[in-house]
């Protein structure tokens, strides 16, 4: 907080009451460099993460459209891509090695750079201080470092796309020995080195961010903001950060050991290898060790991207249904259960790796347990819609879409988590369909929903709603057209990461379906530019936002329309109630701000809340 002391708007905060115009002063100070580049303001950092995330999403999406052309229309002449792909197009055909590199980079970019940094980075940063009533993060400086480590990581990862031997190509899971041996694949050379360095920096960034989020939520809540009055977004960000703190270091250690194996002659993952006419000296290592370490992060990572999306959805669905979220405490309980279970299910990715089958049984059992809290969440969302008074903002549409993907992708998880069935389905398109729905699309929808919902707070302007509707329906229908059919190819046994299926009798079928999927993927990708356009256009030309456009209860809507560094002019408001008093019987409006004391809502107070009237009066007198 020390860094805020020089801010005049805050220095006088105890005396300034409701001077909405004062925030204009904030805009005047600081150079461009400290205000927009090396900013310590959580809101600016959030926007930096968001815009970087959008940039990465476009790259990741472009990669997927290119390899979808290969899969859907294998006979296409791809010479027209020469201007961007150069030597990777050979005689009009995509190079198979580069196909794998694109699949790898698509996965890496989407999972880490878009859905981890773009989602947690944006919304944890933006919403935690605003919704708990804090002026900024516990450490603005660490927060700034977090973004710049991410930026450095991004630069390295981006550069790796352009080197001659191509980027990493062993799949986003980078299993050794393929990733450890430069002689095994061109992408395992410099590309892999850059991947590992980029990820190491990324993990530093993620840890700096997560530590900040956790300490801010614990220590910096405003008066009256007890844990049970926190919006579900904050609960979700809080547990996401905890998962990140506990699991990312394990990936870092896995990556470090891999670096040692690659360049210092150790044998952590290497044993008994004969490659390119040469028996390597390494013995005693275990390739499976890497998989355990990787998935110890890799599985929680699914929840690192999904939980914030679920938190965002909980908030948006409640606001736009004009109803309290159903089962607030059950929602918190299920977030906790998912957090705990996310650490003890990782080996379900490894049923057929030769791991002890008994261990497989244990992990099957634990994996299927995680379906229970997930089911509770889905039912609670649906019940929140029941007898609501639903306003379909674009954010709300994307949230409903998220719930749909969460259900349809989650259900196939029940099938995959069953080790006996997984024998056949492992590493087929069934898995691809499953995780693209439940973790990819669901989290992506959460992110987009969040942008539509909090854009007015971020930029003081509204996104164009009509474009938002078109964007939603094209994306929602598009995503189902892309990923639903992939279940069928998966059932037919099609393995993933295949450049082409023509050499097998068993996988020659489904040509039309793959063409359909590819077309849908390209259309869906193009539709995202409606959003990109809307986003950048509305920053400058959008309709000016009112103070509380969605008539929501949470604290961020009590700040000025364009909050300065420090968020509130004057005292940080007190909180008297939970964030979900929507459509309370007896209330004048269909929402009651968290800052409204019970003494001001005598007509709508429920039985247990009558005592709180005294309390609020007492605290007011004290203040």
């Amino acid at each position: 907080m020390a860094n805020l002391d020089h801010n005049p708007a805050i220095a006088v905060d105890t005396h300034a009451h409701g001077h909405d115009h004062h925030d204009d002063h904030d805009h005047e100070e600081g150079t461009f460099l400290t205000k927009y580049i090396f900013s310590e303001d959580h809101k600016v950092i959030a926007k930096q993460f968001l815009i970087s995330g959008i940039f990465w999403a476009i790259i990741g999406g472009t990669l997927s459209t290119i390899f979808r052309i290969q899969l859907g229309f294998p006979n296409t002449d791809m010479s027209f891509l020469k201007p961007i792909l150069g030597g990777w197009i050979e005689g009009g055909k995509l190079n198979p090695e580069f196909y794998l590199a694109m699949v790898t980079m698509h996965g890496t970019i989407m999972v880490f750079f878009v859905l981890t940094a773009g989602l947690s980075g944006t919304f944890s940063n933006f919403l935690i201080p605003l919704q708990i009533g804090a002026r900024d993060m516990a450490s603005g400086f660490l927060n700034m470092l977090s973004y710049w480590f991410f930026f450095a990581s991004s630069v390295i990862m981006l550069c790796s796309l352009f080197i001659e031997t191509g980027p990493a190509s062993g799949g986003w899971v980078i299993y050794p020995p393929l990733s450890a041996l430069p002689q095994a694949a061109p992408g395992s050379g410099t590309g892999m080195t850059m991947w590992l360095f980029a990820m190491a920096l990324f993990i530093v960034s993620s840890l700096l961010g997560s530590i900040n989020y956790v300490s801010t939520v614990i220590n910096m809540r405003t008066k009256g903001m007890t844990f049970t009055r926190l919006p579900l977004t904050i609960w979700a960000f809080f547990f996401t950060a905890i998962i990140g703190i506990l699991s990312f270091p394990v990936l870092l250690s896995a990556a470090l050991l891999l670096m040692f194996d690659r360049s210092m002659g150790t044998s952590f993952y290497l044993s008994e290898i004969y490659i390119n006419g040469e028996a390597l000296p390494n013995v005693g290592g275990s390739a499976i060790l890497f998989q355990h370490l990787f998935w110890f992060l890799g599985h929680p990572e699914v929840y690192i991207v999904l939980l914030p999306a679920l938190g965002i959805t909980s908030e948006i669905i409640a606001v736009n249904s004009r109803k309290p979220i159903f089962g607030y405490k059950a929602m918190i309980g299920s977030i906790m259960a998912i957090t705990l279970l996310s650490f003890i299910v990782w080996a379900h990715h490894m049923f057929v790796t030769g791991m002890n089958p008994f261990l497989g049984s244990i992990f099957m059992f634990l994996t299927l347990i995680i379906a229970i809290p997930s089911a509770v969440k889905a039912f609670n969302y649906i019940t929140t819609l029941w007898r609501g008074n639903i306003v379909f903002t674009p954010g709300m549409l994307f949230s409903i879409g998220l719930v749909s993907f969460f259900i349809s992708g989650g259900l196939t998880g029940v099938v995959l988590g069953n080790s006996a069935i997984d024998i056949q389905l492992h590493d087929t398109y069934f898995v691809v369909a499953h995780f693209h729905l439940v973790m990819g699309s669901a989290s992506f929808f959460g992110m987009v929903a969040g942008v539509y919902h909090w854009f007015p707070k971020m930029f003081g302007r509204m996104l164009n709603e009509k474009l938002g509707y078109i964007h939603f329906w094209m994306t929602f229908i598009g995503v189902y057209c892309v990923f639903f059919p992939l279940h069928y190819t998966g059932i037919a046994g099609f393995p993933r990461r295949y450049y082409s299926f023509t050499s097998y009798d068993a996988f020659k079928t489904f040509g039309d379906l793959n063409a359909f999927v590819s077309t849908a993927a390209i259309v869906t990708f193009v539709a995202q530019f409606l959003f990109v356009f809307n986003f950048f256009y509305s920053i400058f030309r959008g309709r000016r936002a009112p103070m509380n456009p969605w008539r929501a209860n949470t604290l961020e809507w009590t700040t000025p329309i364009n909050p300065g560094h420090g968020n509130w002019v004057g005292e940080i408001p007190h909180v008297y109630r939970w964030p979900y008093d929507y459509s309370k019987p007896g209330a004048e409006e269909d929402f009651i701000l968290q800052t409204t004391p019970f003494s001001a809502t005598l007509s709508s107070n429920l039985e247990g809340e009558v005592d709180l009237v005294e309390e609020t009066n007492a605290s007011k007198a004290h203040a």
Partner: protein, 363 residues
């Protein structure tokens, strides 16, 4: 072409920009943006059930039309069990999928914003929460239990009389070794690998003398078959889709998978009406640029055909007598004897012709 695409994108952006401007102006004139919910809200509310209906039709159509592309019924004993489990689980989740989506897509339509309506303040109901915690728990327990039983049966130790086949993955093909007449694979050592001895057979082990390499996998129908799986360079994974068999090949850590094939290749050809049908083995762990091409033919013979095929195979030592030098002196005699025996039996089957040739012709 590439620049054409760029130009098209730019043009599209300009058009969208103009349309957005026009639409905003209309909104301002009609003051529709001052209302809490207008026509758009009704349309969006309606589109959810419409999407559901069309989605359901697509789902059913796709399910029906895709059936012909699925793999045929499993050709192994355990495969039939896991297939049943799979389809049972799919039935359960389809019911849940449709039921939840009926609610999820019709609630938005039914409970869309109406001026003057007030939503029901309904924050909690412990009984409901309890019900939808317990019911999934029961259903999942059922699935876990059946899955666990099948999994334990599949992964228990292979019967002692199982036919052993060694599969070794390398970039980018599979290598196959049979134990020969003694039914015991010789030891292997990755340091002994060279161009000919591609799986690193250790000729200091007398079990290796009659081992032979094959260009395709032959297994007998109705008998337990044990795949012993290794990898030479990077991870690979043996995937025999028709048998519902999958197991990773890991350098330095041998794995295995055993199963009982139930239909010969000939039976499958007849059943499917495809005279050129053949079972296949694929690789399902990404292993480099040739990953998608690691196809290996697999043939299920009836017992006689299988015996004849085994007999007709030349052992590695018989094919490559140079390697007799690598046999330790005290075992040389044994090795030479083994080569002689092998030459006699494989030569005999070849000259008598009968079954051996017929078998090869058949495929």
């Amino acid at each position: 072409m590439f620049y054409l695409i760029i130009a098209a994108v730019v043009l599209l952006l300009i058009v969208i920009g103009l349309l957005v401007r026009a639409q905003v102006l209309i909104d301002v004139f009609t003051k529709s943006n001052e209302k809490r919910a207008g026509l758009s809200n009704k349309i969006n509310g309606l589109l959810f059930p419409v999407f559901f209906v069309f989605g359901l039709i697509g789902f059913i159509w796709l399910t029906v039309s895709s059936r012909e592309f699925y793999l045929p019924e499993a050709s192994s004993l355990h495969g039939v069990i896991t297939d049943n489990l799979f389809w049972f689980s799919m039935a359960v989740i389809t019911i849940v999928f449709i039921a939840t989506h009926v609610l999820l897509f019709f609630f938005p339509y039914v409970y869309q914003f109406k001026e003057g309506n007030k939503a029901l303040f309904y924050p909690v109901n412990h009984r409901l929460e309890f019900i939808w915690t317990v019911i999934p728990a029961i259903v999942l327990s059922l699935l876990v239990f059946t899955g666990w039983k099948a999994w334990s049966d599949i992964t228990k130790a292979a019967p002692a009389d199982a036919v052993v086949v060694e599969l070794v993955g390398k970039q980018f093909n599979w290598l196959v070794r049979y134990p020969g007449m003694d039914k015991a694979l010789g030891k292997h050592n990755f340091r002994k690998i060279d161009d000919l001895n591609s799986v690193g057979i250790d000729f200091a082990d007398k079990n290796s003398f009659d081992d032979f390499m094959a260009g395709e996998v032959h297994i007998p129908v109705g008998k337990p078959v044990l795949f012993k799986i290794r990898a030479r360079d990077v991870l690979h994974s043996v995937f025999a889709p028709h048998f519902r068999v999958k197991m990773d090949a890991v350098p330095g850590m041998p794995t295995h998978f055993w199963f009982v094939p139930t239909k010969t290749s000939a039976e499958m050809k007849a059943q499917l009406g495809k005279p050129d049908f053949t079972y296949e083995i694929a690789c399902t762990e990404v292993c480099g640029s040739g990953h998608f091409g690691m196809r290996m033919r697999l043939i299920v013979d009836d017992e006689d055909e299988y015996e004849a095929w085994i007999k007709s195979q030349q052992s590695f030592l018989a094919k490559n007598p140079d390697y007799l030098k690598k046999v330790p002196d005290n075992l040389k005699k044994l090795a030479e004897q083994s080569v002689e025996d092998n030459k006699k039996s494989s030569g005999a089957t070849a000259s008598i012709n009968s079954i051996g040739k017929l078998v090869t012709k058949a495929y």
